[in-house]
């Protein structure tokens, strides 16, 4: 039985038992991953079929996720779930599943990635080619990950949606070390773009070498350049908070604004992009069978849209943006619109300030106010007189998200496809130049 037939049969059963509505997404995935730190630390591989269910009865919502070898377990659970659905109450965000759209699934398979998944080529060899690139930039040690996956997704709903899509995904990141210096870069895509993979090694190696002998500097207010790695991390926070459910739950700074409000400088446009087929989470349809699209979250500094499924859209009196999640709308891929600045113009345009190339641990004091701090990690430089003077260390960026976005002055003309541990939702991002950012450290 195909995974689409599995989904359809579960829908039929759910309706027969007494649910009013059902949707079933079945995902079959094969994935391999090579992890290394100076040498291979482990190679991992996974083969799974996961069944995701949305079930509704009189407005009461039950979600399920089953990773089990026995599909009959899923069928048997339906009876219990239907019984317990009678005991709960109607959801305040309930709205019916949407009708089917005419959707053409995207072509998202790269045979080079299939070869890696099926073992015709070894992922670990790519890892060492990436490492060689880092070494060519004088890196002395390195750690990182490459992963490749092949997925099939089938969606059926009680409104008549029947869709299927295959996809591949590749992700890699490398952290390089040179003396006390460190640099990190990342790439993620639907295709195995060898140029980008090798560039990960080169950029990580280059930043590691340039950041040796870093010194402490005084905390204060600085103009800063944030790399695509950091833009990726911060835009992940913005993208998650753009989910209308996060606003509803009091976990978003967008709750303090309404569409049409200016919340960033004109240099800032942030989009959710479900359709660009090179981006790692691109897909033709969301979990309700609504076509994905490009949605402006912030356009030239103005708050345009939250991300919606049909339930949050009903609650917020608007239309779905094709971002279901049956309960929580999720961004697919996030894009920060590039500008005109060339990367080699960054130090001279900055004049005096800091260049930060990576970060981690972004945490919020208040989600609704957007107050946060994040720790600079790896290569950080101080720029004086328009030139990089030396490497610095031990810094932290603090501020409010909308204030930081309001202080963006420039972005560069080239974007990088970033996905790694701290950038879970893939981001296509340039370098950005931000004026007047608070920088702290223990003193």
């Amino acid at each position: 039985m195909s995974i689409l037939e599995v989904s359809k049969s579960i829908i039929e059963e759910a309706l027969k038992i007494g649910f009013d509505e059902a949707a079933c997404k079945t995902v079959s995935i094969r994935r391999v991953m090579a992890k290394f730190s100076g040498e291979p630390t482990i190679t991992q591989s996974w083969i799974d079929i996961c069944t995701y269910l949305y079930l509704a009865r009189d407005g009461r919502i039950t979600l399920c996720e089953y990773r089990t070898s026995d599909i009959d377990v899923v069928r048997r659970r339906l009876t219990d779930l239907c019984r317990s659905a009678k005991l709960i109450e109607a959801s305040p965000i309930y709205a019916p599943l949407p009708k089917p759209y005419g959707i053409k699934p995207l072509r998202l398979v790269d045979e080079k990635i299939v070869d890696l998944v099926e073992g015709r080529r070894d992922l670990i060899d790519y890892a060492w080619r990436m490492v060689d690139e880092a070494s060519s930039e004088e890196a002395e040690n390195y750690a990182g990950v490459l992963s490749a996956s092949l997925s099939s997704k089938a969606l059926a709903t009680s409104r008549g949606v029947e869709l299927h899509e295959d996809s591949t995904e590749f992700e890699c990141y490398l952290r390089a070390f040179s003396g006390d210096g460190a640099g990190q870069w990342a790439y993620g895509g639907r295709r195995l773009d060898e140029h980008s993979v090798m560039e990960v090694g080169r950029k990580a190696g280059m930043y590691a070498y340039l950041s040796k002998n870093a010194e402490l500097i005084e905390p204060g207010v600085y103009d800063v350049v944030l790399s695509p790695m950091i833009v990726g991390n911060l835009v992940n926070i913005v993208g998650d908070m753009a989910s209308a459910l996060q606003v509803y739950l009091g976990l978003s700074f967008f709750s303090r604004f309404k569409p049409g409000d200016r919340i960033a400088s004109e240099a800032v446009s942030i989009y959710d992009d479900g359709v660009s087929d090179s981006l790692p989470r691109s897909t033709g349809f969301d979990d309700e069978g609504v076509p994905t699209r490009i949605t402006a979250i912030i356009s030239e500094g103005v708050f345009e849209n939250l991300l919606h499924n049909s339930k949050t859209a009903f609650k917020f009196n608007t239309e779905s943006t094709g971002n279901a999640g049956w309960v929580k709308p999720e961004p697919w891929n996030l894009r920060f619109k590039p500008g005109d600045l060339k990367e080699d113009e960054l130090p001279s345009t900055l004049g005096e300030g800091l260049i930060l190339t990576n970060n981690w641990y972004t945490r919020l004091q208040s989600y609704v106010e957007g107050s946060f701090s994040t720790v600079a990690r790896d290569a950080t430089f101080i720029v004086k007189g328009g030139k990089v003077e030396k490497a610095v260390k031990g810094l932290r960026v603090t501020g409010r998200l909308h204030e930081l976005l309001s202080s963006v002055e420039y972005s560069t003309d080239r974007c990088y496809q970033i996905k790694w541990w701290e950038v879970e939702t893939p981001v296509l991002a340039p370098y950005i130049l931000v004026r007047g950012v608070r920088i702290s450290r223990p003193t």
């Binding site: 291979p40 482990i42 190679t43 070898s69 989600y367 609704v368 720790v375 450290r441």
Partner: protein
């Protein structure tokens, strides 16, 4: 199932593994999300499958599948072996596993009543009653939102390895995570996200009276929002509350004592450690700096008796009286250090490799009452809770922004203050402790590490601790 595991372990060995391990794991999670007492949805997750881990030609391979038929198992073994062998040509030194006290045992945590013996409405009534009590309790500010994610989890494992280890376990856990936003038109807002978590059943939440805890705290936060003043700046004495100090201990002792991090295995993800392999016996703080990791605490969120390499769990002194004493090990790191594993390997689910993890990590209590801790402080601050926090990837430079906090003047707790910033190095924190409270407070959390990410249940705890002469920052937010 035990016969099947034995056959898998033997087959992997026959095909060339120098070590093999098979684990069948089932995680069942039922969760309920609500907003202002209204149920948004119920969710059920069943995650069940097989993990195979092998050492072959000196390299480590892992493979997992949700299929348990012969073909899937055979493919799983083959993937783990073939990919380990393929990577072995890049190894600098072969991976080996240390000696260890391996268990041959089954154990379980018994909840007073099974989760499914409670009516779903009993569980939802907790969301509703807390929301209702909050509305009654908060007279002076708007309760903007109260959202809850309630989770009950059952983790069942059966593990066998080629060195004779065999462990079966069943551990139920429960967690209650909530978000409260209080708002005042003049003073703005204050937000609290917090979690309670235990091993055991639904009764744990009632035993711990979490409803009363949430209401009492919200009343205090209302006061902080309305009456909070700017904290003092400059050098003051700081009493760091058990909640904050517990997190500090987790971040700046537990993580840097993970031996895999010390060896650089997690360098590209969770980072490195300021602790180097040769630093056992090095002074890190005052004589009050004693930190323990102990998976065997009954009822704890990080409870287990045998780790996922079948090694017996035990209490470990990571720092003892200010000296670095012991690292957290699995059998790979212990082998490199020439030691026995101390049972710190944990895997989130069948799709996860076992890696070095904390369990319940805490600063040991002292003998001061709270009044005694503050009585000789002329000018200081008490930070009871936090929201924003972070630490660098070597676990040295850390920051915690107080949520509920007060001035201390002349040995007395005075006005509430807004957002004091404790930005401090690990060395300074442990060196400046000069007294500890007698009561320990544990907090629950899901600690992230590994690739793919594994969010593992842990407790972190501490008594209130007094730090002398700390330069306190002020959030300008």
């Amino acid at each position: 199932m035990e016969d099947k595991l034995e056959a898998i372990v033997d087959e992997a060995r026959r095909l060339g593994a120098s070590y093999s391990e098979a684990r069948v794991q089932r995680n069942i999670v039922v969760s309920m999300s609500s907003r202002n007492g209204a149920l948004i949805n119920v969710e059920e997750k069943v995650d069940e499958g097989l993990a195979v881990r092998v050492l072959a030609d000196g390299a480590l391979g892992f493979s997992s599948t949700d299929r348990m038929d012969a073909e899937a198992i055979s493919r799983c073994i083959d993937f783990a072996l073939s990919r380990a062998k393929a990577s072995s040509r890049y190894m600098r030194r072969p991976i080996g596993f240390s000696r260890a006290k391996l268990g041959s045992i089954k154990y379980e945590v018994k909840e007073k009543k099974f989760f499914d013996s409670y009516d779903i409405s009993d569980k939802l009534s907790l969301h509703k009653s807390i929301y209702s009590m909050l509305r009654d309790a908060l007279k002076r500010v708007e309760l903007e939102v109260f959202s809850v994610e309630y989770m009950e989890m059952i983790e069942e494992k059966l593990i066998m390895n080629s060195d004779g280890g065999f462990v079966g376990s069943r551990i139920p856990r429960i967690s209650f995570r909530y978000n409260i936003v209080l708002h005042d038109p003049v003073k703005g807002s204050i937000q609290r996200v917090n979690e309670y978590g235990f091993s055991g059943g639904f009764d744990k939440l009632k035993e711990q009276r979490i409803d009363e805890c949430i209401i009492d705290e919200s009343r205090r936060l209302e006061k902080v929002l309305l009456e909070g003043v700017k904290p003092p700046s400059g050098v003051v004495d700081v009493v760091v509350g058990g909640e904050v100090a517990g997190l500090i201990v987790h971040e700046s002792c537990g993580h840097p004592c993970e031996a895999d991090r010390i060896l650089g295995r997690e360098a590209a993800q969770a980072g490195l450690s300021f602790i180097k392999p040769s630093m056992k016996g090095v002074k890190i703080g005052s004589r009050y700096a004693t930190v323990v990791d102990d998976p065997t605490i009954p009822g704890s969120f990080g409870f287990y008796l045998y780790d996922d390499e079948c090694v017996a769990a035990r209490r470990k002194y990571l720092y003892r009286e200010g000296i670095v004493e012991e690292f957290l090990h699995n059998r790979w790191t212990a082998n490199i250090f020439g030691e026995e594993s101390n049972g710190s390997a944990r895997a989130l689910n069948y799709r996860s490799e076992p890696i070095v993890r904390m369990s319940n990590t805490y600063l040991t209590p002292g003998d001061y009452s709270f009044e005694e801790l503050i009585e000789d402080i002329r000018e200081g601050v008490y930070i009871s809770s936090y929201m924003e926090w972070n630490i660098d990837d070597e676990r040295w430079n850390q920051r915690y922004v107080g949520l509920e906090a007060y001035r201390i003047i002349g040995g007395e707790l005075r006005d509430p203050i807004r957002s004091p910033v404790l930005e401090i190095t690990t060395g300074d924190f442990y060196s400046k402790i000069d007294a500890k409270g007698c009561e320990i407070k544990f907090e629950a959390g899901l600690c992230g590490k590994g690739e793919p990410m594994q969010g593992i249940p842990v407790w972190f705890g501490s008594p209130d601790v007094r730090l002398r002469g700390v330069k306190l920052g002020v959030s300008t937010l």
